[in-house]
């Protein structure tokens, strides 16, 4: 760009959408600041075992993106950081960023000596709490910045085992947080989503039965870096399941839960069916759906999975799940035919939907939202939304929209400069 505002673009949220928006802007010559609440970038995508439709690991593309982040002199990444306050300024936004204390500093070499001696165990947030990890650890295998993190609240009183074990003087248990103000020319909000909690679906066994799991948890079960080392096992008894049911629209397209379609769950389940068939070839997989939504080239995934032996796709809305001898009983309502059927499974995956991160919160930057909590662009305020904070969509669409949002932000920044 020939003329650009000297003030940086601020991108909030370093999932795939935020990373993309910041990188695309920075590679176009714009200064960018990328702010992430967690201690490492990557957001939800790194928790996926594979992407559809190519069935490839998200860490592959993230490897490139991390190289791009490291190499670009115009980009600054603040992790463990949140927007504390945002005010309109003459040329954009004046944003106070609260950076939480980082107890492990940049001297960390990820050698792991501290983890070995740490007496405190915490549920692993990366694996959605499905296993325990030391309070001091690498947050996940692909963590960047590549540094250990410490869950300080879990430290036993007076313990400094990690400090003593660290050869590199990289741990400061008394580290303090700080605040800095960024004068931004424009803002891209890419704060992502959270999975619809299965506890809100008790009729489908959510939160009631161990062998009823959410699709996001199932993704971790299939991942080599997950709690089972990539083995698909029933949580109740640790055995491989033989009859797996995927329940689509678990919460989505339902006025009592999420009235919209979450856009990715059909393909996520089809993808997960391939994980099952690869690991447990004789397993029976049934997917209960209202509509099979596999737009564009994703149709190929549907065609392939539907043709797999041992995979059945049944049009029907599951209304109730109960425990029964040896497994789970699904009561389903064939909406169009008006029939009620029973089906059985020993593991049920609820294809739960996506909830906008903006929903229910006091939205930062005074961003406008639709009734479902998805953010609306405000070009007049140089404020743009990218990724699932804007609408339910898959990774490919998030990357596209994030690039578009960066473009709009750069145009707005230039106009207001």
């Amino acid at each position: 760009m020939n003329v650009s505002s000297p003030q940086p673009l601020l991108v909030v949220g370093a999932g795939i959408a935020g990373i993309t928006a910041a990188l695309e802007a920075a590679e176009a010559g714009k200064e960018a600041v990328l702010v992430e609440r967690e201690q490492a970038v990557g957001g939800r995508v790194l928790r996926s075992h594979q992407y559809f439709p190519k069935l490839c690991p998200p860490s592959c593309g993230m490897e490139i993106n991390v190289r791009r982040l490291e190499k670009n002199p115009r980009i600054r990444v603040l992790t463990g950081a949140q927007v504390a306050k945002a005010d309109r300024s003459a040329n954009g936004w004046s944003v106070a960023i609260a950076v939480s204390p980082r107890f492990v500093n940049e001297r960390c070499t990820v050698c792991g000596d501290c983890s070995k001696v740490c007496p405190a165990k915490v549920p692993d947030p990366f694996n959605l709490g499905m296993n325990e990890v030391p309070a001091i650890r690498l947050p996940h295998p692909d963590a960047w910045p590549r540094r250990f993190v410490l869950d300080r609240s879990a430290c036993p009183s007076g313990c400094k085992a990690c400090v003593d074990a660290c050869t590199y003087d990289a741990i400061d248990l008394n580290a303090a947080g700080r605040e800095e103000t960024i004068e931004a020319s424009a803002v891209v909000l890419a704060t992502g989503w959270s999975p619809y909690p299965i506890e809100k679906l008790p009729e489908l066994g959510g939160g009631r039965f161990q062998d009823v799991v959410a699709n996001v948890n199932f993704e971790r079960l299939a991942s080599p870096s997950g709690p089972t080392g990539g083995k698909i096992l029933r949580p109740s008894d640790g055995t491989p399941p033989k009859k797996i049911a995927f329940v689509q629209c678990a919460g989505s397209r339902d006025v009592n839960h999420l009235p919209y379609c979450s856009a990715v769950c059909c393909l996520a389940s089809l993808k997960q069916a391939t994980y099952v068939k690869e690991q447990i070839p004789d397993a029976e997989v049934t997917m209960y759906y209202i509509d099979r939504r596999a737009p564009g080239r994703n149709e190929d995934v549907l065609t392939k999975v539907a043709a797999t032996e041992g995979v059945k796709l049944v049009k029907g809305k599951v209304g109730k799940i109960e425990e029964c001898a040896g497994g789970l009983k699904l009561r389903l309502e064939d909406v169009e035919a008006g029939r009620i059927l029973d089906a059985f499974a020993d593991l049920v995956v609820l294809a739960t939907g996506m909830v906008s991160s903006l929903k229910g919160e006091k939205p930062p930057f005074g961003v406008g939202m639709d009734d479902d909590g998805f953010g609306l662009d405000n070009p007049g305020a140089s404020l743009f939304i990218a990724g699932v904070a804007r609408r339910p969509e898959d990774v490919a669409a998030s990357v596209r929209d994030a690039t578009g949002a960066a473009a709009k932000a750069l145009v707005a920044a230039r106009r207001s400069a």
Binding site: M1, V3, E24, E27, A28, H49, Y51, P53, K54, L55, C56, P57, C60, G61, E63, I64, R68, E70, K71, N72, R107, T109, C111, R146, T167, Y168, S223, P224, S225, G230, R253, P259, Y260, C261, D291, R292, R293, G296, R297, N298, E299, D300, E336, D370, D371, L376, R391, P392, A396, V399, R400, D401, T403, G404, A406, A407, K408, L410, V411, R415
Partner: protein, 750 residues
Amino acid sequence: MEKIGLFLCTGCEIGAAIKTDGLESLAKKGGAKSVVMHPFLCSEEGVAAIRKAVDDGSVDSVLIAACSPRAKTAEFRFDPLKVSVERIGLREQVAWSHPHGEEDTQMLAEDLLRMGLVRIKKNILPKPLAETIEKTVLVVGGGVAGLSAAKAAAGMGHPVVLVESSARLGGSMAGVKDAAPEQPPYGELHKNTIGELISAVQGNASVRVLLQARTVHIAGQPGQFTVDVESPSGKETFLAGAIVQATGASPYDATKLGDLGYGLTPDVVTSVDLDRMIAKGEIRRPSDGKPPRRILFVQCAGSRDPAHLPYCSSECCVTTLRQVAAVHRDLPGMECAVVYRDMRTPGQMEHFYQAVQEQPGSMFTRGEVAKVEKGPEGNLVVRLKDSLLGPDAALQADLVVLAVGMIPNSADSEAIRALRDARVGAEKGDSDVQRAHAAKVAEELAFHEGTEILNLEYRQGPDLPVLRYKFSDSHYICFPYETRRTGIYAAGTVRAPMDAAQAAEDGWGAGLKTVQCISAATRGEAVHPRAGDISVADFSLQRCTQCKRCTEECPFGAINEDVKYTPQYNPMRCRRCGICMGCCPERIINFPEYSVDAVGSMVKAIEVPDELDEKPRVVAFLCENDALPALDEAAARRLSWNPWVRVIPVRCLGAVNVIWIADAMARGIDGVLLIGCRKGDDYQCHYMTGSELANKRMENIQETLTRLKLDSTRVRILEIGRNEFDRIPQIFAEFEKVIEETGPNPMKGF
């Protein structure tokens, strides 16, 4: 480089794993001018020691023997114009993955040091490009995506020339009255704002619009394209820095849909026809000009059908909803039935679906059309199959609307090039047989004649290469805009099936990519995936044999040919993958810090024990994007693997030159592994075809082995995923078994 400084870190268990005394003399023997050992090299103090040596000029190159080249990159970055840096991953490849203090571990570390030293010695500092860069952006196609791209690029301060083949802007949205609700309220029709977008572009002083125009020739490279455009006002030539191709898609040819009743009576129309009627405010039966009472919409007309379009066209469900809503508005009381296989209304479109479904007169039913027949009263009877209305369900309608799918307006560049080559071959082939064969190929491909869109002067063909189903090739999950032609970005429905709102977004994104490409060219830097790389390839053309391998194999078409087939390198098209370097049999293509000689020297620097020692040696070339990270992860988890393997990271498997394998064999190395990314339709190779090409070259390698009288099992090529760290030890163990069975390389000791 002449003054090599070796900086060896003894932290992170490296000092415990190997004996460091003796390494200094090894390094000096290997050409190091100075050796510094540090217990914590990535610390401020450690880095300061390196910086001091660089600043006082005592070293001109820095060899860092510490952690993986992927770790601590910020700490170990120095000005690439001043100092050459190479890294040896002693921590991951030695200390974390092999038993400490053992002879094999020591030998491994010493080999890695020797390899690093010869490699950095061969490095030359890069000379960045400093070219005059044109800022104008060319946009081909004036539909939603093209208009949005033009608006974006102009908004970022770039002049834009927009070339549209028809007489008006707006593309397929121009004749459409309404828009689906992209913003709240989601339950109702919105106004189609294409008119405002057209006005904004036409009213923008930075944008020049050429109608009824086409690009007849585009030569050059990013930053320096010369574009010839023909329009009614004549032919003109201008410069452009980067290009957006937004040529859209066409409705599927309904005449092929006789099964769905098209052609049976004039009252079977397409969704495009109905949009015209809605826009005119005259929804009429074509047969008698009367308003219909009942309209039946048939979804997936041509889409999701292997006989027509195997993919889903993505936008037809929402188009039908929009049309049903418009019909209800314009002709209240009209019945609209929709026959669908799956209603696809992702995201907030679900609200629109619910709202339209609830309108009086709407009926949505799942099923497929078995047959369309003429009805008794001049109407139509649509017989259904797979319908929940019953086995013989039939619906009557007096207008049937086929929701036709879309076909990208792309040109099959590779096929066009094959056609052109065949035409030349038919005339100038060496023998009658060759000429006849070429003539036959030319005949088969003749239908591609005249389908060119961009008319690029590229050896590999005049347009963007296409992927399955003729959508332009790209890494369509992570990096959707990256086509195989640098600086040329596809946007909208030519890239993937999408609706108008998505096409607008796509246009904005592609607009930014053009600005980015021009910005990178101005800085003399490469674009994705090696964004920021300032080195360019060097071609020693005096030794070129005009074999054409590089011109044909470059995934990005960076290399043209002159009439004598001598390669003409376009550095700003180049992505620095090194695939040309890998394919060149004369080894004349090299990068300043990545050359055939440098890597070959690494292979030759490996000490090969004689066969009596029973210590075989294996060289493993690992793709640095997926295989090397997988190896690093295996090491981080302290998995252990065979200590006889020597790992050499490469930019891409396609950058592996066969000579390295020959060198390894000649040196007595027992086996060579090439480990890279997935190839094929769902390729993961970040240079698109690198993995594919490496596999093809294996045939060549087998020949080399046979010539050397060696067993072909000694060389193996494998794919690995970025997350498959657990396979690393397994791969090495299995290969070791193969080598054991094959026996020692008979070239040992020669």
